[in-house]
């Protein structure tokens, strides 16, 4: 084996290893770059007539990170989101696994919805959770409708589930909730 071949092989292997780092990186609370949760990032109507601003790079990092999604899943159970939203299928609250988003389906919009609360029952979690935890929850909520890259979601849920594994959910198109009526 020539030394040049060996070197380039090593470089490729190194590159391949480094590429996978972001997805698996553990988020230690307080040491992650947490973007602020913008209050007005919520309803799609805010952006009428102009295109919405791009998603913050740091916010996007949350939904590509396996650790954030796993922690979000844990919080979804612990904070009793299940009580109203079921395991994503909805109940007293709206479903989170379909293509209807009353207040926007982007991660920053979902985080804003969790932080601020919404009419008809969704409480505000701003003082009850840290911003980081809200981003983690939002990242997990995105996985329920298959929005997140498949190598970051867990193949199994922590609990019993009657839905296909998240790795096999095709992404639902993100539409505002009233789009069907328009």
């Amino acid at each position: 084996m020539s030394s040049r071949f060996r070197n380039s092989f090593a470089a490729c292997a190194m590159l391949a290893l480094l590429c996978s780092c972001g997805r698996e990186r553990r988020q230690e609370s307080g040491k992650t770059d947490v973007p602020p949760i913008v209050k007005s990032a919520s309803p799609d109507t805010v952006f009428l007539g102009s295109s919405p601003p791009p998603v913050d790079r740091r916010a996007a990092a949350f939904e590509g990170n396996a650790d954030a999604i796993a922690k979000g899943q844990q919080l979804f159970l612990w904070m009793n989101c299940v009580g109203c939203h079921g395991r994503g299928g909805g109940g007293m609250g709206p479903a989170l696994m379909d293509d209807q988003w009353r207040y926007g389906g982007r991660i920053d919009q979902i985080a804003s919805t969790i932080a601020e609360g919404r009419p008809n029952g969704m409480p505000s979690w701003r003082a009850k959770l840290t911003d980081e935890q809200i981003w983690q929850l939002a990242a997990y909520v995105r996985t329920l409708s298959g929005q997140v890259r498949k190598d970051a979601v867990g193949a199994r849920t922590d609990t019993m589930s009657n839905t296909p594994p998240q790795t096999q959910i095709p992404p639902e198109p993100v539409k505002p909730a009233d789009s069907a009526r328009q």
């Binding site: 307080g30 612990w78 840290t130």
Partner: protein, 338 residues
Amino acid sequence: MIRRGAFLAGAAAVLSGCNRYQTSLGGEAAESANFLRLFWTFMAVCTLMYVLLVGGMLIALWRSRKAREALVVENGRHHASAPILRPLLIGWAALILVGLSALAIASFVTDRSNAANASHPKLVVTVTANQWWWDVQYSLQGTTTALRTANELHLPVGVPAEVILESNDVIHSLWIPNLAGKQDLIPGRVNDLQLWPKKTGLYRGQCAEFCGLQHAHMALDVTVESKTDFARWLTAQKRPAFAPQGPVETAGYRYVTSRACASCHTVSGTQAGGTVGPDLTHFASRRSIAAGTRPMDRGNLTAWVADPQGLKPGTNMPKIPMRRDEVRAVVAYLERLK
């Protein structure tokens, strides 16, 4: 240099076994005493066999030259063996049989004895393992609610207790070497462990199944105390939390009950009712914080409240952005929760 380092390392390893706080050679409960007896039985039998075996080999080595010279093969059979060898080999086989049988019987008797101890538990405690802390609940007679505490186990001496073991996330294992052997805590299953403590004292339990990042910082403070002390402790634990005194503690009380703390922690008698994290009702009466990570004192408590990830990286308690006076107030209030 290397030799001195090796000596120090060896000495440290040997001396670390000297404390009575966490040792399987203590025998402070009926179970561990049984196991200890079994251990010494095994040790005696195995040592005897080992000495005999090595002795026999040495004799064989010493005799080998003479034996080889005298070896004559006739019709494919060895005739030159000394006449004593045959009875010796038969005796050896018999000794192995007797030794193994003795060990099997001793194991059986130990098992039966422990099972017999378990038949009449007088106290039922449920221990639920979480990453990385222990949730402890006492079932009280005459009530439907259980008394909840965390990371500490109080047992009255001489009272057989049944510990019911459950897990909320991954497989853990509860090991209090002074009192009993290990038992796994498996999600979705209910295991149990029998403890019949015979001597009062402070012991340390430890998670004995790798359960994640902070597996090493998952300890359980065990207190075996007299029946009156236990009754006193139980009465104190049944009370709701103490009310805050003075403006600083009141500020801490307001923060704990209205902010993120209350999402996970319970302080009974207040608005804080989360069940995700350890119960804090009588937090300051415990010996350590964060499941045995640090001893309970104001410095450690401040460090823990200000940045849990600094003390126990990876723990599920997040770093909450707090002002300095808020940290001080929360710590002051937590210290009130005796």
